[in-house]
Symmetry: C2
Subunit: 555 residues, 2 copies
């Protein structure tokens, strides 16, 4: 029950209506806490953009109130926006040991490591941040040390699951905190914010151990070298690969920068168990008998510059895939990557490797719970209100149907967009005002300097290229002194289209003559005249619309 | 048995190692026949390209020998290249009635209809083309009137399946010609070229009738309007939608140009059965009670300009999706389209429609046979040699494993690339020489005028845009008379980056001064100098590499 006139507001700043850049703000009176600060990979139409982070204008405007950022786990869509966030808003960060280990690497790259206060938490922690008291519960996910938060507020307890599945036989022997979740439910939970990634998927997600069994089977039957690619952050799977390597008396080489980094951090922190001597340098791969070698690699999404793709194309400095090698791609394609991965698989088959991938075997399970697990979470927590998060709209919608099926009142479910707020006062929830939220695009070192106009130009340029038309006119009578010269980039290859460009030249000359004879002397009118006449001609001839940039000089 | 010194060559000019642009040449002595002339949709990196067709240099070089083109069915990946082919090589075309009906539409658009000889075939036809005698067998596929060919040559019989599945309960009551296939097998088949699309998929592909049942269920439970999107060429499915419309006493409006075209052609030719009065004009949709309306639409791939996408965004002229409507997306995403389709589904859910799509129900089955059907074809035909076609490399590979499992000698299997030839002489097959083959890119009206350089420029332009640097130098002393002016498109938005561009200006001025003082006077050296200095500065400041186009004038 509320003891004052204050209210609790929950404001998702990222991660709803989209996959990625997860971030949720909890506001009560003069206190704000933030859960997660993720990034998103660019949509297809965001040409040239490297990553996308949440717009945190709302937090900047309330900067004195922000008490800290709580991180659920170490995946990019939960930590990738953190360096940019901390540059604008240097507040304490709370995370488990492995999560902070991965964050440290990022902060070091951004020169922030010494400036930020990192606080290690465990599932025993109770974190007091202004009016908020946050306790921590363990979850299963595709990276170790994943947690969720129970956020006690004057209005009641909010359970924020973070990403989760229920793995009854977890590789790290660290089960979910069933008792804590059930106890929260028993005492009464005001609202549940729960992971919707697999809300469309019926049944249960299988245990990560299933993949371990498949890996063992593959190792048992491989006759020559084994090359296995998976997500660099899936340390459970990496542990099972190490276990299989040791069980079959093989040696393991690791290639790919993020794979080496993650294994190094995880091993230092004790999240990876490995016998001395298991690991070899990639240089040694070619010196050992083929049947002793396992190569663990990045590139399970077929990314063009990744280690696996380079090995498949024989452009990797140290390891090359050979006929008879067994290549295991232990992942499933992230939507949008299907074509890349197919190409890599084709390339590997062409070399003569035996390729094991998801379409024909079980070398991947999801890190997110399917429908029955989502219902189990709802049954444990028994929330009064439900806010599906971490998903595109249809997933949130489906998740809300699951919530209704477990007994949540349909009027107590909020499917929201980023920037929407849900307010709780006196035990009642309602939609509140909408706050600033959105995409901040990062291109190289630029944060937010690429906007719609630049993207629109990149789109135009990518479709039909550009023609630059250069001409010098006489100041006195407007006669053409030099040019027109037409320079084409990405439109047509000049040598193949001389006739077209010659005719284009004539059109420009005629147009300029006409404009001058009509005494048009505003620069913008002359440029538009040239652009229109030339554009019309080129469209007639080619059905293309290149960008046309007239450069008219006067001397 | 070969009676002369001649040999049979089979040359896939498209459709192997790729999905799309199917085309195979059969060569014997002075005779060539071609099966199919398809198009392919552009790969991601083919920026601005509309479609891709096979390179037919080999056929042009042997133009007097080409006796005709045989078409298996009316899908774009089998007929879409035909107009371009016929412009270069006007030979008779052979196809079933529906296939030719669809081809006629294309030829009309290209102004070719009166110039080309179209020959209707049925499964009773025997086509004599030089040394080749082609007979025709019926297949099941996701478009009616699909056939395959048995090509009798002096070396033996080749069976070319075309796209197929075995549908034991076909919607049009036209089963596959099992007896013909079995009879061919019994008499002896030299080689089988068979569809590999679903070679990775275990089991059987379900009958199209299953979709009809799902459609009926959806129609029975829908309370308001039904909007259903599917492939415009899947006339079996369209027939079942018409049947359901009539069964439930509803009216059908058709939207989307290709859907209207295909239904018109198919109805005229008798491939669609419909009661008078079933069809209504889209204008009438809003005049009828919601429960009487069915709208059949294109856009099942979420294509941005399609009717469904426009209806979802309320930008369609005649029909808008309303809360409570049932939207059925009766297709599965073609690889690469997943994101488009997800966005459309999300948009429809946001409107408040009830959306039925593949992830959660059975509104689509494939038109291609799965592994057991591919093995059935192999069992019927019992070929001596096997050439898997119509698939990316891994599919061909998997299909060849299936062939081995049915008893084909592994040494008698050829997995080939486009342009490879397989030669048969005296009953023996071997790999022959490699012929010219490849991608011809079509951009607007241009056929093959966009090559690697243009595509590379488009790629560069799409990533970081372009900077045009304009400066006028004095002919006498090289002093700068005007400029440098820097024009940015797709790099940064100028108003946001004034400082950066001012500094860039200074760099250009300094560089030019230095080059002039060093008496560098070759244009290319001056331009390269400016490009390098500016590029270096911009990369340091932004980590981006825009295209830089220096335009240096001398007066």
């Amino acid at each position: 029950m509320s003891k004052s006139n204050n209210k609790l507001s929950i404001i998702p700043l990222g991660g709803v209506g989209e996959i990625g850049k997860n971030m949720t703000a909890y506001v009560y009176g003069n206190d704000i806490i933030v859960v997660d600060a993720g990034l998103k990979f660019p949509e297809e139409e965001m040409l040239g953009i490297d990553i996308v982070i949440p717009d945190i204008t709302f937090l900047i405007e309330n900067r004195t109130k922000v008490r800290g950022v709580l991180i659920t786990h170490g995946h990019e869509d939960h930590i990738g926006g953190l360096p940019y966030f901390l540059k604008l808003l240097n507040v304490p960060v709370y995370g488990t040991r492995l999560t902070l280990g991965l964050i440290e690497g990022k902060l070091r790259e951004h020169g922030l490591l010494d400036l930020v206060k990192l606080n290690v938490i465990t599932n025993k922690s109770v974190i007091k941040l202004g009016e908020f008291t946050v306790s921590v519960f363990n979850n299963n996910h595709s990276i170790p040390d994943t947690v969720g938060f129970a956020i006690d507020t004057p209005e009641g307890v909010i359970v924020h699951t973070g990403d989760f599945k229920f793995d009854y036989t977890p590789v790290d022997g660290r089960p979910a905190d069933f008792f804590k979740l059930a106890e929260l439910g028993e005492k009464g939970v005001l609202a549940l914010l729960s992971d919707s990634t697999n809300a469309e998927r019926p049944g249960y997600t299988m245990s990560e151990r299933v993949v371990g069994q498949t890996i063992n089977d593959c190792f048992a039957s491989a006759e020559r070298r084994i090359i296995i690619a998976t997500f660099a952050s899936n340390l459970h799977r990496i542990q099972q690969i190490i276990d299989a390597t040791e069980k079959f008396g093989k040696k393991l080489a690791v290639v790919g920068r993020s794979m080496v980094n993650n294994i190094t951090i995880a091993h230092e922190l004790g999240y990876i168990r490995m016998n001395p001597g298991t690991l070899i340098d990639p240089d040694e791969v070619n010196k050992l008998p083929a049947e002793q070698v396992v190569v663990l690699s990045t590139g399970s999404q077929g990314e063009p510059m990744s280690a696996l793709t380079r090995m498949a194309r024989a452009t990797h400095r140290k390891v090359e895939v050979m006929p008879g090698d067994t290549v295991i791609i232990a992942s499933s394609p992230i939507p949008g990557n299907e074509k890349f991965i197919s190409r890599t698989i084709d390339q590997l088959f062409r070399i003569g490797a035996d390729v094991i991938y998801q379409a024909v075997s079980g070398v991947h399970v999801s890190g997110h719970g399917s429908q029955e697990e989502l219902k189990l979470m709802l049954n444990l927590v028994r929330p009064k209100y439900f806010i599906p998060v971490h998903g595109e709209y249809r997933m949130l919608k489906r998740h809300s149907e699951l919530a209704v099926s477990t007994g949540v009142d349909p009027d107590n479910i909020f499917i929201v967009d980023i920037g929407d707020s849900i307010e709780f006062q006196g035990g009642k929830g309602r939609l509140g005002p909408k706050y600033t939220a959105g995409n901040v695009l990062i291109d190289g070192l630029g944060v937010g300097d690429v906007g719609n106009i630049v993207l629109r130009d990149r789109k135009l340029l990518s479709q039909d290229g550009i023609l630059v038309v250069v001409v010098t006119l006489s100041k006195q009578d407007g006669a053409i002194l030099s040019g027109p010269d037409i320079i084409s980039r990405g439109f047509v290859y000049v040598r193949e289209s001389e006739e077209l460009l010659e005719e284009a030249n004539k059109i420009v000359t005629q147009t300029l003559g006409k404009l001058v004879s009509e005494n048009v002397n505003e620069w913008s009118s002359i440029k538009n005249g040239v652009r229109d006449a030339l554009g019309r001609y080129l469209y007639e001839q080619t059905r293309r619309r290149p960008m046309i940039l007239p450069i008219i000089m006067e001397v």
